[in-house]
Every structure is written in structure tokens, then in C-alpha cells.
């Protein structure tokens, strides 16, 4: 694709906001984010017992219905989609040259620039 890794990877030259987010580069910090997500999810599940739901459908009254539905359906979605790949995946140049998938974006229409602080 003509992407070359930057020769000047200098964290000091990143925008301030980018530097501030650099702690995400550390795997352990990502773990903390994930633990945070677990805690939020647990809290939201338990929240269902703390208030009176105003709902229209009987199924909505099941405690944690939305949580379970969201989790199960999303997992099913990804697994089905992964299965679809077996049938549907083709190489990138399958339709070439009659589509844009395997061609580079014309460089003159871009303004490629590397971060140099």
C-alpha cells in the first residue's frame, strides 16, 4: 500500500493530547480499562434491582434482560459473521481492475504528512 513506517517515531513530537493518552500503550493499563468495564457492567446489571422499570413488554421485566440480550446477540453476531467468511471471503484483487479495492488512492488527491511536532 505504500505505507512506510515512520522513521521519526519520536513520542516527544506527538500532540499533547496524544502524549496524554500514551498510557494506553502499556498492556497493564489496558487491563485496568478492561477491569473498569467489568465493574461498570456488573453495576449496570445490579442497577436493574434498584429502580422500578417502566416497560411495555413482559420480556423487558426480566432482570438484566437488556444486558443479557446485548451480550448474547453480539457474541452470536460475531461468531456468525466469522462463519460467513468461510463462504464469502475472496482475495482483495478478486474484482480487479474493475473496482478500487486493490488500487492505491491517487496520491495527488491526498496530503500525506508525517507527524513532526
Amino acid at each position: 500500500m505504500g505505507n512506510t513506517k515512520s522513521s521519526k517515531d519520536d513520542p516527544a513530537a506527538y500532540p499533547a493530547l496524544g502524549t496524554a493518552l500514551l498510557w494506553l500503550d502499556n498492556r497493564r493499563n489496558v487491563d485496568y480499562v478492561v477491569y473498569g468495564l467489568y465493574i461498570i457492567c456488573a453495576g449496570l446489571f445490579l442497577a436493574d434491582f434498584l429502580y422500578h422499570k417502566h416497560v411495555y413488554l413482559a420480556v423487558e421485566e426480566v432482570p438484566g434482560f437488556y444486558a443479557i440480550y446485548g451480550f448474547v446477540m453480539c457474541a452470536a453476531l460475531v461468531i456468525c459473521a466469522k462463519g460467513m467468511r468461510v463462504l464469502l471471503k475472496r482475495p482483495e484483487d478478486y474484482y480487479s481492475p474493475k473496482d478500487v479495492e486493490s488500487e492505491d488512492h491517487p496520491v495527488e488527491q491526498l496530503e500525506k504528512a508525517e507527524n513532526d511536532g
Binding site: 500500500m1 505505507n3 513506517k5 515512520s6 521519526k8 517515531d9 513520542p11 506527538y14 500532540p15 493530547l17 496524544g18 500514551l22 478492561v34 457492567c41 449496570l44 446489571f45 442497577a47 429502580y51 417502566h54 413488554l57 438484566g64 434482560f65 437488556y66 444486558a67 440480550y69 446485548g70 451480550f71 448474547v72 446477540m73 453480539c74 457474541a75 453476531l77 460475531v78 461468531i79 459473521a81 466469522k82 460467513m84 467468511r85 464469502l88 471471503k89 475472496r90 482483495e92 478478486y94 474484482y95 474493475k98 473496482d99 478500487v100 479495492e101 486493490s102 488500487e103 492505491d104 488512492h105 491517487p106 488527491q109 491526498l110 496530503e111 504528512a113 508525517e114 507527524n115 513532526d116
Partner: protein, 568 residues
């Protein structure tokens, strides 16, 4: 007087005037001033039929202003402004003129009060928009644009056929609410359906939008499909089949979006999914659901443009929009990342973001009217859209594995366009009253109830949990350099291959039977030659006198026949 001038003409006039304006920033200023002026004009228009003209003995209605057409026209003006601001750097006249004519046609179509006017603007959007794809100026873009154009023009031709039949049935061309049943209404319905990317008619969208230029795709994403949603809302509100069509539309694109590599195509799939919500709203046809459709179209145009802008900015700086090539860009493009996340939160309908206050109108309408299965599908689709648009787009572009790319932050005008759009997404989510006031019917709906906020957060956070778990266990399918077959395979591969095979087979049969005939003729000739040729047995024994005798007999017969013939 000013009121009766169609808003579209403002755009067309500006497109012409652009040639007289010197190249450079002045042109860019014109590109921004026109949609702003148009928006002010639309805002100040009184309701009513403002612009009749006579056309071959028919009265055409160019300016039907009511609340439904006004809200769509306003968001189209706003989208044109934001798209043109994002394209501030573009000096390519083809794209500038195309953007103006395209936006003008879409707005003109929204105000069209009859099917003939609608048809002209309908085709106008098709012809103008294809130049935003061709402007890429590559072989692939040329072919993709051709496919797009054939389908879009086809939709217009079907609309014209439907309009003519409709005139035969009713004696007029008025574009009002119709009831499905006659061939005319079915044709018009089909025409709208093609532009709205109904299931199995959808693939032009995912095929063409990723082929546009960086800025062209942002503009493409706003108009064509939402014009179709408007046309359905005007013509077919309350048509029950739309509920099921819409439900399927929300459902199947999310599967493709999960495995698609090109992030702009992922967005095209999720655009298709969001259109499904609007179509369901049209199908239910109550005041609540039609309000939902209009509100969702309004919010959707903004957050979808924002997502296309952020991915476009990545493409602009790195040369690619493919998930497999990107990652780790948050380090050097943090603002673009934040705007992308705002767009993602809006499309996912997080509380305080625009999708939350618009999609819930449609969801509530579905459950209030007793469409429980449809409601469950929409709920699944809501979780799914968060999964692929809300998480996948920002994650694979800006986080995930570090691609090593360190592009510069997007240029200022792009950041400004994204910033304004992001602000609007949040503003609408936090304070929906002004948007609700624009909707076609009175709104009696409170989106921010404890139940609604908590249940929505549960749905979204547990979808995020599913993503995280699948990602960390390695089950989540990685981004791969690949394309996935969709229905376009039928007309891009299967039919050409089938025709090729058939013509090859026919050719073989033809040449085989020609060879047989040839052989037979050769055999007959060679036998005749053998028997009657110079060396043949028969000619050896024929005396010359026999020939003279036969000629004499022939003459005699001719004489007799002549004689008898005259006597009779």
C-alpha cells in the same frame, strides 16, 4: 416573489457562477455561502405551495413547503455546508460543481410536489453524484461509477414509468400518499426502494461509497438515501410491508460490517442498517414513528458524515482506510480520534448523543404498536451497530495493534468541520427540544427516563463486554486484506460468467453442427465430381448429340407450355 424561487436554483446558479469566480479560496467561500443562504431561505419560507409552473399543459409544483419537506431541506443544507467546509482544500472544479448540483437536486426533490418534478431532480442527484466517484480518476473508480450510474438512472427510469402509469390511473401527477396495489404504485415504490438500498437492491451503496474521493464520500453519504427515505415517508407512510423490509435492512448489513476490512465500506454497511430504522418508522406510519424517521434522518446525516469525515481524514493522511493497515493513530491524530468517537457514540445511541433521542422514537413506536419481533430485531441491530460502527471503526483505526504509521493530525478545516458536526451531535443529544420542534408532528416524548437510560446503557456496555471478551480470547475475526461477496457478485461475476459459459457452449454447438453440414456438402460434391466430372463414368458415355436432343426437347416443352398458357 422571492419565496417562489425554488431553493434548488440557488445551488444551480451558484454552480454556474463558480466558473466566473477566480480559482482558490474565493470559490471555497462561495461553496460555504450557498448552503448557508439556502438554509436561511428555507427557514424563512412560509408553508404552502409556492412555485407552480406550466409544463406542456401540466401544472408542476416546484415548492411544496410543509414541516416534512422543511426538516429534510434544512438538514440537506446543513450537510452541504459541513461537507463543503470539510472540502475547503479541494480545487477540482468537477467535485465543486458536482457537490453543488447534487445538494441542489436533493433539496429540489424534497420540495417537489409532483412526480415529474421529482423525476427530474431524482435523476439530477444520480448524474451529479457520480462525478464525486469519477473524480478519483482511476480505472476502478470509473467502473464503479458506471455501475452506480446504471442503477441510479435505472431507478429514475422506473420512477418515470410509474409516474406515467399513475397518470393513466388518476389523471394527475400529484406526489401524495399512495396505496400499494396497482402496477404504477409498485413501480414508484420499487424506484424509491432502489435508492433507499432495500435488501437485495442495496449493493450499489457499499460498492460505490468507498470509491468516492476523500471529501466526495462525505457528501455522498448525506443525500441520495435520505432523499429516498423522505420520498417513502411522503408517498408510502403506513405501508406495512416497509416494517419488515426495514427490519431486514437493519439486520443483515451488520454481519457484513463485522468482517469488512475497508472502514469506509463498514460505514456504508452501517448506513444501510440505519436506513432500516427509518424505513421501519415510515412503515409503522404513526405520528410518533414518522417523527422518529425524520428525527433519525436528521441526526443520522450528521453523525454519519462525522464518521466518514474522520475515516476520510485518516485516508487523507495515510493513503488507506483499511482496518488491516491501520492502528495506533490516536498518538498523532488524537483530535480526529475524539471526533470519531463522538460519531461512534452518536450512531450507537449513547445517552447524551444524538442517536439516543432519535432512534428511541422509532423503537418506542414499534413496541407500542405491537410489533414485538420487529422490536427485538431493532434492539439486536442497535447492539450490532454499536459493535461494528461504535467500537470497530475507532478501535481498528486509532487503537488495536500499532501500525507504526505516525501521520500528522488532520488539516484545520477538516478538524473544524468535524468539530462543528461533533458539537451538533452532542447538542442534539443533550437538548433535543429544538430538533423535536422541527418534526412534522407534535412531539410528546421524553427520551431521558431512568428506565430508558439504564436499559440502553446495559445494552451498550454488555455489547462492549462481548467485544472485549471475544477480542481477548482471540475469537474476534481479525481484519484481513480481502473482499467479501455480496449480492453484487451476481451481476459482477455470476451473470457475466454465466453468459460467457453459455456463449462459449453455444459457439461450440454451432461450430460442431456447421462442421457436420460442411462435411456432408463436401461429400456430395466429391461424389458428383466422381460420377459426373471430366473423369466420371457418366460423362464418359454421354455423346454430344444427346445434349442437342435434350435442348430440342426442352424447347418443345417450353413452346407447348407457352401455347397452352395463352389459350387458357
Amino acid at each position: 416573489m422571492v419565496d417562489s424561487i425554488p431553493v434548488a436554483f440557488l445551488f444551480f446558479g451558484a454552480a454556474l457562477a463558480l466558473f466566473a469566480v477566480p480559482q482558490g479560496r474565493v470559490r471555497s467561500v462561495v461553496m460555504l455561502a450557498v448552503p448557508l443562504a439556502a438554509a436561511l431561505h428555507v427557514w424563512s419560507l412560509p408553508a404552502g405551495d409556492l412555485g407552480q409552473v406550466e409544463f406542456f399543459g401540466y401544472s408542476l409544483e416546484l415548492m411544496r413547503v410543509d414541516k416534512l419537506s422543511r426538516v429534510f431541506a434544512l438538514i440537506f443544507c446543513l450537510a452541504a455546508f459541513l461537507g463543503n467546509l470539510y472540502a475547503w482544500h479541494v480545487r477540482d472544479m468537477v467535485q465543486l460543481v458536482a457537490a453543488l448540483v447534487y445538494a441542489g437536486s436533493a433539496i429540489g426533490a424534497v420540495f417537489a410536489g409532483d412526480l415529474i418534478t421529482l423525476f427530474f431532480y431524482w435523476e439530477g442527484t444520480a448524474i451529479a453524484s457520480v462525478f464525486l466517484i469519477w473524480a478519483r480518476r482511476t480505472e476502478g473508480a470509473y467502473h464503479t461509477g458506471m455501475r452506480y450510474l446504471v442503477i441510479q438512472i435505472g431507478s429514475g427510469v422506473i420512477l418515470l414509468a410509474g409516474a406515467i402509469l399513475y397518470h393513466g390511473e388518476t389523471g394527475n401527477f400529484a406526489f401524495e400518499k399512495m396505496t400499494l396495489g396497482s402496477p404504477a404504485t409498485w413501480l414508484i415504490f420499487l424506484s424509491f426502494g432502489i435508492k433507499c438500498a432495500f435488501p437485495l437492491l442495496h449493493n450499489w451503496l457499499q460498492d460505490s461509497y468507498p470509491a468516492g474521493t476523500v471529501t466526495g464520500t462525505v457528501i455522498l453519504s448525506a443525500f441520495t438515501t435520505k432523499l429516498a427515505v423522505y420520498a417513502l415517508a411522503r408517498g408510502f407512510a403506513g405501508t406495512e410491508i416497509l416494517i419488515y423490509i426495514g427490519a431486514i435492512m437493519t439486520l443483515f448489513p451488520i454481519f457484513f460490517a463485522v468482517i469488512e476490512n475497508d472502514l469506509r465500506r463498514v460505514l456504508a454497511y452501517s448506513l444501510n442498517n440505519q436506513l432500516g430504522f427509518m424505513v421501519v418508522g415510515v412503515g409503522i406510519g404513526t405520528e410518533l414513528s414518522l417523527n422518529g424517521t425524520a428525527a433519525h434522518a436528521f441526526a443520522h446525516i450528521l453523525y454519519k458524515a462525522l464518521l466518514f469525515m474522520s475515516v476520510g481524514a485518516v485516508l487523507f493522511r495515510t493513503g488507506t482506510a483499511k482496518g488491516s493497515e491501520l492502528g495506533g493513530l490516536y498518538k498523532t491524530m488524537p483530535l480526529t480520534m475524539i471526533f470519531c468517537v463522538v460519531g461512534a457514540a452518536s450512531i450507537s445511541a449513547f445517552p447524551l448523543f444524538s442517536g439516543f433521542i432519535s432512534k428511541s422514537l422509532i423503537m418506542s413506536a414499534a413496541s407500542h404498536e405491537g410489533y414485538y419481533v420487529v422490536w427485538a430485531i431493532l434492539l439486536f441491530a442497535s447492539a450490532g451497530v454499536f459493535h461494528h460502527s461504535g467500537i470497530k471503526i475507532p478501535y481498528f483505526a486509532f487503537f488495536a495493534h500499532d501500525s507504526g504509521l505516525r501521520p500528522k493530525e488532520a488539516p484545520f478545516h477538516m478538524l473544524l468541520a468535524m468539530g462543528i458536526t461533533a458539537f451538533l451531535c452532542i447538542a442534539i443529544g443533550v437538548y433535543p427540544a429544538p430538533l423535536y420542534a422541527l418534526l412534522p408532528y407534535e412531539v410528546d416524548y421524553a427520551p431521558y427516563t431512568t428506565t430508558h437510560v439504564v436499559t440502553q446503557l446495559q445494552l451498550l456496555f454488555f455489547s462492549a463486554l462481548a467485544f472485549t471478551v471475544l477480542m481477548r480470547t482471540g475469537i474476534y475475526p481479525p481484519e484481513l486484506k480481502s473482499v467479501n461477496l455480496d449480492t453484487d457478485w451476481l451481476y459482477r461475476r455470476f451473470m457475466p460468467d454465466l453468459l460467457g459459459t453459455l456463449s462459449a457452449a453455444l459457439g461450440r454447438v454451432w461450430s460442431a453442427q456447421a462442421a457436420v453440414v460442411q462435411r456432408r456438402i463436401t461429400r456430395v460434391v466429391s461424389r458428383l465430381h466422381h460420377s459426373t466430372g471430366p473423369e466420371g463414368r457418366i460423362s464418359q458415355t454421354w455423346p454430344t448429340g444427346a445434349m442437342v436432343l435434350w435442348i430440342a426437347i426442352l424447347l418443345a416443352v417450353t413452346l407447348i407450355v407457352n401455347f397452352v398458357g395463352q389459350r387458357l
